[in-house]
Each structure stands twice: as structure tokens, then as C-alpha cells.
């Protein structure tokens, strides 16, 4: 297994720090906890199950890791009804049919000179394997990730949306990095891929799967981390406004809302404010742009009465 950052051979803490810095260079700001999980996932060769509220950068983490390691990112979006044919492989039936046609035409040539039925059949048997070989296999994301010669980052997104059966089917891949295709046998990974699974907790993931994974929970970031994220993602925002808007969002998360604003919403809001040439938060501005942060009409109405207080607090905090 190659090192995360080739020029660092130090002990674990320095490597973890190196991962964090590597992420920062590519614009993904994270804390030590997340960096530690990447380090472990890579070293223990275990899949990483990432949970947390929507919009805290679960998918982004996989993308950043792929970039950091210089490996291709292969993504599998889960949904209800996802099955093997779409996740793993499919036979190219069309091509197989065509092949049969060709074979039929050439059958005469092939059989010429064959003595009796027995020999004809044994000649035919020589072509048996050609129908089910890798030539006719259409790899889907999971197989593609196993076949990638230099290794890959495999992202299985929103696992909680898939069916129970699919979860069970993943177990073989996740623990041994191999899959079984009835016609071909077991296919092993050429290079062990780094696997990310994400879940929004719309249902509980099974214990068997959890046991095979490392588990990372990404909560909403604290003030300091969120400020750094905004600085990296929306560098155009001036420091004062940045502090204010982060303080406001943090205040908003303390309220009882249907859907709390996540980091992605904060970034969108920061971009909105930049577009509006805002220099400072005020209640009016917040009210006009609140729909960027909150996605439910109920929430917007509930927050309305709190806006003044929250804005004042945010201004005081900066």
C-alpha cells in the first residue's frame, strides 16, 4: 500500500497532519478526526461508513480523498430497487447474440471433417468459454472499482436509500474485496480500493455491515472550523461579514427547526451575500435571503420573529 503522502514517512500523528494539509490544499477543510479516519481507512484497508446530517460534506470527503491520492473516483448512487445488474456487472447480451449469429454461419466450416456427433460436440465445447468471459462483461461501478489497476476511490452514496438485500450483497465486497460471478468464479480486486459509504440515517444500517466498516460521524462544524471552510470556499467574503454570517448560522442551528442549515447552505449564503455586495449583516438583508439557508416555508416563518435577535447577536459576536 503506498503512503498517503509519499514524502512523509513519519509516525501516525505527522501523517494525519499531512493528510489534513493535503485536504486543505485542495480546498477541503477538516479537523483531525476526519483526517484520522482517512488514515485508518487506508492503512487498515477497511471501508469507511460516513454518517451525518445532509450537507456536511460526506460526499465531498470522498471526492477530496480521490484528488489527494490521485486515484479515480467511482461513484455508485444508491436508490430503492438498485440491483446487481446496475451495481456490479451485466452480460452484454446484444454482443453475445451477434456472436452466436456469427458462430452459426461459421458452423459449417467448423464442423467439416468432424466424425460423428461426439466429435462435433467436443469441438463445440471448445467455444463454450468464449460466451462467458470478460469480453462480454459490462462492468458496473463496483466491478469497475475492483478492476482499476492502480486502485480507486469507490463511493457508495446514500446507502440508506437502497434495499436490505443490496446491503447484504455488499458484505462480500466490503470484507474481502472480491465478488463472485457464477459463470466466471471469484474476481479479486487488482488493488484494494478505498471505499466510502455514506448514509443520511433515513434508516438504520445493519449491524453486519457496520461491523465491517470504520464509522465516522461528521457533525455540524463548530464556529472556528466553519469560518475556515468559508474562507477556503468563498475567499471573496470579507472577514467581518464572514464572522457575522457564520455566527448567524451557528445561532440558527440552536433553534428547533425542521431542517437545520448545513455547511453547504452556509457556503451558498456566503456566495449570495457576495453577489449582493453586502458588507455587513442586517435584519432586512437576512430576511430577504433567508430562503437560501432554510428550505422549508414553516422554518422561514418560525425564524422570522427571531431574526432581529439573531442578527444583533451575530453582529456582537464578530
Amino acid at each position: 500500500m503506498n503512503k498517503v503522502v509519499p514524502d512523509v514517512n513519519g509516525d501516525a500523528p505527522s501523517q494525519i497532519a499531512a493528510i489534513r494539509q493535503g485536504f486543505e490544499r485542495s480546498g477541503y477543510i477538516c479537523n483531525n478526526q476526519i483526517a484520522t479516519s482517512i488514515f485508518l481507512a487506508e492503512r487498515l484497508q477497511k471501508p469507511l461508513l460516513v454518517e451525518g446530517p445532509p450537507g456536511v460534506g460526506k460526499t465531498e470527503l470522498a471526492k477530496a480523498t480521490a484528488e489527494l491520492l490521485g486515484k479515480p473516483l467511482i461513484r455508485l448512487q444508491c436508490y430503492e430497487g438498485l440491483d446487481e445488474a446496475k451495481a456490479l456487472y451485466e452480460w452484454k447480451y446484444g454482443k453475445q447474440l451477434l456472436y452466436t449469429q456469427v458462430l452459426k454461419e461459421k458452423l459449417g466450416d467448423l464442423m467439416s471433417g468432424a466424425q460423428g456427433l461426439k466429435e462435433s460436440i467436443s469441438r463445440l465445447h471448445e467455444f463454450d468459454d468464449t460466451f462467458f468471459n470478460e469480453e462480454f462483461l459490462e462492468p458496473r461501478p463496483l466491478l469497475k472499482a475492483l478492476w482499476q489497476p492502480g486502485g480507486a476511490v469507490l463511493l457508495i452514496d446514500e446507502l440508506d436509500k437502497s434495499d436490505d438485500e443490496f446491503e447484504a450483497f455488499l458484505l462480500e465486497i466490503l470484507s474481502d474485496y472480491q465478488i463472485s460471478i457464477p459463470e466466471l468464479g471469484t474476481i479479486k480486486a487488482r488493488t484494494t480500493p478505498i471505499v466510502f459509504l455514506t448514509s443520511n440515517n433515513s434508516r438504520e444500517i445493519g449491524d453486519a455491515l457496520k461491523r465491517r466498516c470504520l464509522h465516522l460521524y461528521i457533525p455540524f462544524p463548530d464556529t472556528e472550523l466553519e469560518q475556515r471552510i468559508i474562507r477556503a470556499r468563498v475567499p471573496e467574503v470579507e472577514e467581518r461579514l464572514r464572522n457575522q454570517l457564520v455566527a448567524f448560522v451557528q445561532g440558527l442551528r440552536a433553534l428547533d427547526l425542521k431542517k437545520l442549515p448545513a455547511v453547504s447552505e452556509t457556503i451558498d449564503w456566503a456566495r449570495t451575500l457576495v453577489l449582493l455586495h453586502a458588507r455587513e449583516l442586517d435584519a432586512e438583508l437576512v430576511r430577504d435571503t433567508l430562503n437560501v439557508l432554510l428550505k422549508f416555508q414553516d422554518d422561514i416563518e418560525n425564524v422570522d420573529s427571531e431574526i432581529n435577535a439573531l442578527t444583533t447577536k451575530a453582529l456582537a459576536a464578530s
Binding site: A12, S37, D207, H215
Partner: protein
């Protein structure tokens, strides 16, 4: 280290974190990988292999902080990791490496790979006390804890025994002899030593108490929960309400996890022509692959009719608590409360987030007055009978004691005819049914099931059943 890790995992299990064997092995690999140098990193790393839900992460953090607290003999321990070697003058060569029974802070990475720490010889204890070698004392203490098998402590009454045993292992007898010997020649020295002995005993007791807390913190609560889930709800003490509420939430969460998937049934025999043709295009239109029509199973519509008069109110409280904790899998619950007259409380519960407050309101509005099942059914007929359809499950909770009034079985018959199922939950034991003014005999024929439901366990079973047969 493996021993420490093993103990730590035991402590985690005591704190309700589920750790499997394979996860313990992973934890060992993680420790090898990240080392013991940095506490924060070790904590993050271990939490990723050992704690796999949000609740477990929280429990993990608490246990980690408590378990790897390193405040005993704080005075000099920071400067003296090197001296620890000196304290181990008499290594028992056969011992496993690093004989620290309980609390080596991860910061003490220096202990790894040192010669094994056997019990210090008795004279060492005197030397250590006189020399004030705190780090050595810490080591000796940990070693004594290991030998005394302190990690097996389960009851608080065992504290004294463990303290004494540990003192003995550390060399109490020799220390006492030494004190006695000095008393004749060097009374001051003897006094100093006996003070030191007393202080040491305090420290040992402290240590034992901390360990007791780590390993048994939750045992009491677990036992309590176990008992409470089976006790008759009407006998639950007010002071246990908080635990009960938490328990309901926990059970509800488990039920949600079990039943949150929407089920489908295949209607075998009915071909889904459209999807079959599409799926078989690649076979040249030959039907290799047949797809049958499926039907999504609807979530059950539940109407709960609760008697909230004195005798049943307590059970009603928990039933409603349950039903409203299941919003995710039972989105359409309508609830009705009655004692004399019946009123709908659906809106009340939906508006009021605090279920206790809503309950109090419901009890105030509909509680009191003498129970009259006939009137209640009449009111229900007027209010909601039209909405009862073949998908509705009607839950009735009550003791069927109608104060000798007509219970109006005819209305229940109507409800039964329309509803998918009628379930009667009676908090009284079956032997009391039909005694006195109980009308179970006249009402039960119109119910699909009638059962006793007196404890949380019963409630959980009923609701689990309700969800399983949801159609």
C-alpha cells in the same frame, strides 16, 4: 496493552456500547497503528472502530475520558515516566509485558516494551513511601489492581475487600512490621510512615471506587430498566417517570429501525406486462425474465381510543407516548380520549411537542367524570366512524368498566365491520375481566384480538405486532 484494551472494551460494554469480537481485534490493530503518543488521535481512532452510532459515540467519549483519567498521584507523574523502570526492581520474568492493570494514560507510551512489572517487593513500598516516588506508586497500584483482579469488581460492598487485598499485595504487612520496628527506636519516623500508609489507603480506596464506577456505572440502570419494563404500569412510581420516558423512546427507536422499510408483496400470477417487455428487449423480445406486479404495503392507519379515567390513565399515557414516538413509521395516528365523553386529541399531540404537557391537557379536558363506554362509542361514531376504512386499525385501551351503563356493543360491531382490525388492550389481568361492571364479555366478540396489556413489554409487543401485520 492488549489487557488494558480488553478492560477498556469491557468498560465500554458496561456503558451500553456494543462491541463485537472482530471490532476488538480491529481496535488492537488501530492501537498498533496510531500508537499511544497522542491522546486525541487515539480517541478519534478508537471511536471509529468501536462506537458506531451517535449514542455510542457519546458513551464512548465519556468512558474514554473516565477510563484513561490519569490523576492518581498526579504530583510528579508527568516528569517520571523514565523512573518507572527503577521501580520494577523485581520483575517476574513470566509476566506479560506492561503490567498495568487499569489506568495507564495513553500519554505514558514509555511503558511499552519495558521489562514486565511484577509486584514490587515489600521493602520497596517503604522506600517508595519514604522517597515519595509517585510514579512508582502508581505502577505498584496498577499492578496490585491487576493481581487482585479489580476489573471483576461488581458490587459496591466489595470495595473494602478489594482495597484490603490491594494493600496486602502492595506489601502492607511488611510496612506494618517496619512501622512497629521503628516505634521503639525512631518514633518520628514511625509516625511519618504510618501517615503515609493511611494516605496510601485513601488513594487505593479512591482508585477502587473509580474502577467500580467504570465497570458498573450502567449495571444498576440496566437492571432498573429491565424491571421497569415488566412492572405493571399502574404501579410505576412517579420518581421513575424519567427512566420510563427514556425507555419508551428507546423501544420506539428500535421498532422504527425494525419497521422503517416499506414492504412490498409480489402479486404472483399477475404479470407486469409493461416492465416485462422492457426488461426483455435485450433477449430479442423473448420472455426470459418475467416481472410480476408488486404492491406496496401501506403504512397502517391507526386510531387509538383511550380511556383516560383514573384507573387506566397511566397505561394510556404510555400507549400514546409510544404511538407518537413512532411518527416515522406510523405517520397517521389519530387519537381519542374519553372518560365520560370522547374528544379527539390528535391535534393536541401534534401541536404540543412536549408529550407530557399534551397528556396533561388531554387528561384535563377529557379525564375525570365517570366512565361511560356507550357515550364514548356514540361520540366516536359521530366524529370518526366515516374515516374508518379497510386500512384502519382501531386500538381501544380501557378496562371496559362502564359503570353499569350500556356499553353499546352495536357501535363497536359497526366499527369492527369497517375497520381492518380492532384490538382491545385491557390493563386488567384476564381473571378480572367480566367481574363487577366490566363489560368485556359483551365487547370482546367485536374485537379481532383482546389482550392484557399492563407493562411496557406488553405494549412493545402489541405495537410490534401492529407494525408487522401492517397492510
Amino acid at each position: 496493552m492488549t489487557e488494558v484494551l480488553g478492560d477498556f472494551i469491557r468498560a465500554l460494554r458496561a456503558a451500553d456500547v456494543r462491541v463485537s469480537t472482530s471490532e476488538s481485534i480491529d481496535a488492537g490493530r488501530v492501537v498498533d497503528l496510531v500508537g499511544l503518543g497522542e491522546r486525541e488521535i487515539l480517541r478519534h481512532a478508537l471511536s471509529q472502530v468501536l462506537a458506531k452510532t451517535e449514542d455510542e459515540k457519546q458513551a464512548f467519549r465519556d468512558t474514554f475520558d473516565r477510563y484513561f483519567a490519569f490523576d492518581q498521584f498526579k504530583a510528579k507523574s508527568e516528569t517520571s515516566t523514565q523512573q518507572q523502570g527503577d521501580a520494577e526492581r523485581e520483575p517476574n520474568a513470566g509476566e506479560t509485558q506492561n503490567g498495568s492493570g487499569g489506568m495507564p494514560g495513553p500519554g505514558g507510551g514509555g511503558t511499552e516494551g519495558q521489562p514486565s512489572g511484577g509486584a514490587p517487593a515489600p521493602q520497596d513500598l517503604v522506600a517508595m513511601l519514604e522517597g515519595g516516588d509517585q510514579a512508582a506508586l502508581q505502577m505498584a497500584l496498577a499492578e496490585a489492581a491487576r493481581q487482585a483482579q479489580l476489573n471483576r469488581i461488581r458490587l459496591f460492598t466489595q470495595r473494602g475487600m478489594y482495597t484490603r487485598r490491594m494493600m496486602e499485595i502492595m506489601g502492607l504487612d511488611a510496612l506494618n512490621d517496619e512501622i512497629e520496628r521503628r516505634e521503639s527506636g525512631d518514633p518520628k519516623g514511625a509516625e511519618r510512615l504510618s501517615d503515609a500508609r493511611d494516605a496510601l489507603r485513601e488513594q487505593v480506596r479512591d482508585y477502587v471506587e473509580k474502577q467500580l464506577e467504570i465497570f458498573t456505572a450502567n449495571a444498576g440502570r440496566q437492571l432498573r430498566e429491565e424491571v421497569l419494563s415488566q412492572v405493571r404500569l399502574s404501579n410505576v412510581d412517579r420518581s421513575d417517570m424519567k427512566i420510563m420516558r427514556a425507555l419508551v423512546a428507546k423501544m420506539a427507536k428500535r421498532l422504527v429501525a425494525l419497521h422503517s422499510r416499506r414492504k412490498k408483496v409480489e402479486k404472483r400470477g399477475q404479470l407486469d406486462m409493461r416492465r416485462t417487455i422492457r426488461a426483455n428487449v435485450e433477449f430479442d423480445g423473448l420472455f426470459f425474465h418475467t416481472i410480476w406486479k408488486q404492491q406496496k404495503i401501506d403504512r397502517p392507519k391507526v386510531m387509538a381510543i383511550c380511556d383516560v379515567s383514573g384507573s387506566v390513565a397511566q397505561v394510556a399515557r404510555f400507549l400514546l407516548m409510544f404511538l407518537y414516538s413512532l411518527q416515522e413509521v406510523l405517520p397517521r395516528v389519530r387519537s381519542f380520549a374519553f372518560s365520560g365523553q370522547l374528544g379527539e386529541t390528535t391535534e393536541l399531540f401534534e401541536r404540543e411537542r412536549d408529550i407530557e404537557k399534551a397528556l396533561a391537557r388531554a387528561l384535563m379536558e377529557h379525564g375525570g367524570g365517570s366512565t361511560d363506554y356507550g357515550q364514548a362509542f356514540l361520540d366516536f361514531e359521530r366524529l370518526a366512524l366515516d374515516d374508518v376504512d379497510h386500512r384502519t386499525t382501531v386500538l381501544i385501551l380501557g378496562d371496559a368498566r362502564s359503570n353499569y351503563g350500556n356499553p353499546r356493543g352495536d357501535i363497536l360491531k359497526k366499527i369492527h365491520a369497517r375497520a381492518r382490525r380492532v384490538i382491545w388492550l385491557n390493563p386488567e389481568p384476564r381473571s378480572l375481566w367480566n367481574s363487577g361492571d366490566s363489560e368485556m364479555k359483551r365487547l370482546a366478540p367485536y374485537c379481532d384480538t383482546a389482550k392484557t396489556c399492563a407493562s411496557l413489554k406488553d405494549l412493545e409487543r402489541v405495537i410490534s405486532e401492529l407494525l408487522r401485520h401492517a397492510t
